[in-house]
Amino acid sequence: MSTLTTPAGRLGALARAEFTLLGRSKATLVTAVLVPLALPFSLRSVVDDMDVEEAGLSVGTVLLPAAIGFALLFGVYSALVAVFTARREELVLKRLRTGELRDVEILCGTALPIGATGLVQSLVLVAGSTVLLDLPAPHAPHLAALGLLLGLVMCTALAALTAAVTRTVESAQVTSLPFVLISMALSGVTVPLEMLHDRLASVCELLPLSPVITLVRGGWTGTLSTYEALGALGTALAWTVLAVFAVGRWFRWEPRR
């Protein structure tokens, strides 16, 4: 009997191929790498005009979570909606499913390069903010790290879910818009939730990306109470579990015919 493949081996082989593909896809590279790095700095002047100090924030603690939010939304979520849709329409997913790869390995292997890019990007943004925006060291780095990891998994699962209702790669730009816009406006990416009305803020806190941004920001400011931190973690975890479950239930492996 020949040696059997391992999940890690299969995942690695698929992820390696996806890395090659990512490097060859100019459009994905621009959305995934350039947009999240460039966008935050265009916000700089807006943030300078905001009364961020009144909310107990600084330019750095506004811009860094915003930048990480953009990395998750454009770099991970939008890019993956397009990739999942493309692989399904090219019948790549169907072909892979005839082999030894399990369904979850196919999804993870396909998402891995872009997810890793999002992670590296976030670390670059942290380094950049520390140097350029005089951002001090985080008070609760574990919260920021947990928030970021949950954000990556959640955005990957939501991307797979969005791909299920996306017919073509072109229409992926449209179907991914609602989550991107809502998150940008109401999850504390462009405007910190601390600066919204209390009642609006308490509703916005329940949106999927809100706890991720809250945790990242709170990781730096150190102003989250244990109760607040657990609440944010719980919300993020709930959305992540829900999204993963929904993918298992509704993901489409073959094109609609």
């Binding site: 082989a13 790549v92 005839t98 030894e100």
Partner: protein, 312 residues
């Protein structure tokens, strides 16, 4: 490992597949394939071939019925079956921006006991195209890449869904050679095709699918033997069908007349032909446009398709 030659590596019992829209593509079929056998599912488009193979490959759960591949349910016991099977979809997909070799390497990383990718590409005649992007391949080359990947893990059971559709004559011959070589090495092959000669040449046994049911099954010879042979000729000037010797005594089981052309159907071709020719010799007449032919798989196939259409 059990290598009993008569072991059934594929067993299908009362299989049904109904799609979401309510279309019943597979309507209760049963068959089994022994180890080392090449089994063909033959049928026109829409007969239910691909719907059946996808269930065997474990891509979907059957609506009803039972499938065993190497003793396991291919859908629920995926991990036990997949390392021992290879599959080529009717329409497989590969990322268009990867090269042939990159595709094969990726696949090799996902296959237990994979052979060296270049060796398999060589086998299907794609080695010199190794550096070419998939999007630049012709349709036939894509089919051969798909076949190469199906062969990467030296599978015990191979599913080939229309492996030669889209290939030119040479490519088709090469694929047939390959399938024969695999059969000689003991690989069990289940293939679908709408090419009669493909089923006749390659398959030890076959099933003709029509409208989701098995209309005929057996060795090509058995399926053919169930069909009558045919004799046709033009009646000589001044003769009528009644002037022929009693058709029943000649072993003829049916006949029809179209103008002056008579067509006889018989399961005893030699007796019928001898009787007819002896009569013509004695009567001193010439049977013009005489055509004597054994039953063929083609006639069986066309006969089944036509018969069921009349019934429907």
């Amino acid at each position: 490992m059990n290598t009993n030659e008569h072991e059934h590596v594929i067993e299908v019992t009362d299989l049904r597949r109904v799609y979401g829209g309510g279309f019943e593509a597979v309507r209760g079929i049963s068959f089994s394939v022994a180890r080392g056998e090449v089994f063909a599912l033959l049928g026109t488009n829409g007969a239910g071939k691909t719907s059946t193979v996808e269930l065997l490959e474990g891509l979907a759960r059957p609506t009803d019925g039972r499938i065993r591949v190497l003793g396991h349910d291919p859908y629920t016991e995926r991990a036990a079956v997949r390392p021992r099977t290879g599959a080529m979809l009717q329409e497989g997909g590969f990322p268009s921006e990867l090269t042939v070799e990159e595709t094969a390497r990726m696949w090799a990383g996902c296959v237990s006991g994979a052979r060296p990718p270049l060796e398999v590409l060589e086998l299907v005649g794609l080695a010199r195209r190794a550096g070419v992007r998939v999007k630049q391949l012709s349709g036939g080359e894509r089919r051969r890449l798909d076949l190469a990947l199906a062969l990467l893990g030296d599978p015990e059971v191979l599913f080939l869904d229309e492996p030669t559709t889209g290939l030119d004559a040479e490519g088709r011959r090469d694929t047939w050679e390959l399938v024969r070589a695999l059969r000689d090495r003991g690989t069990t092959v289940l293939l679908t095709t709408h090419y009669l000669e493909e089923a006749e040449d390659l398959a030890g046994r076959l099933a003709i699918l029509h409208e989701g049911r098995i209309a005929a099954t057996g060795t090509p010879a058995e399926v053919t033997a169930a069909q009558p042979s045919r004799i046709s000729f033009e009646l000589p000037e001044g003769y009528f069908v009644g002037d022929l010797p009693p058709l029943g005594e000649l072993g003829v089981c049916g006949h029809d007349v179209d103008g002056r052309v008579v067509r006889l159907r018989t399961h005893a071709l030699q007796r019928s032909a001898t009787g007819l020719l002896t009569w013509a010799e004695r009567a001193g007449v010439e049977l013009r446009r005489l055509d004597v032919r054994s039953a063929s798989l083609e006639e069986a196939f066309l006969g089944i398709a036509a018969r069921e259409e009349v019934a429907a």
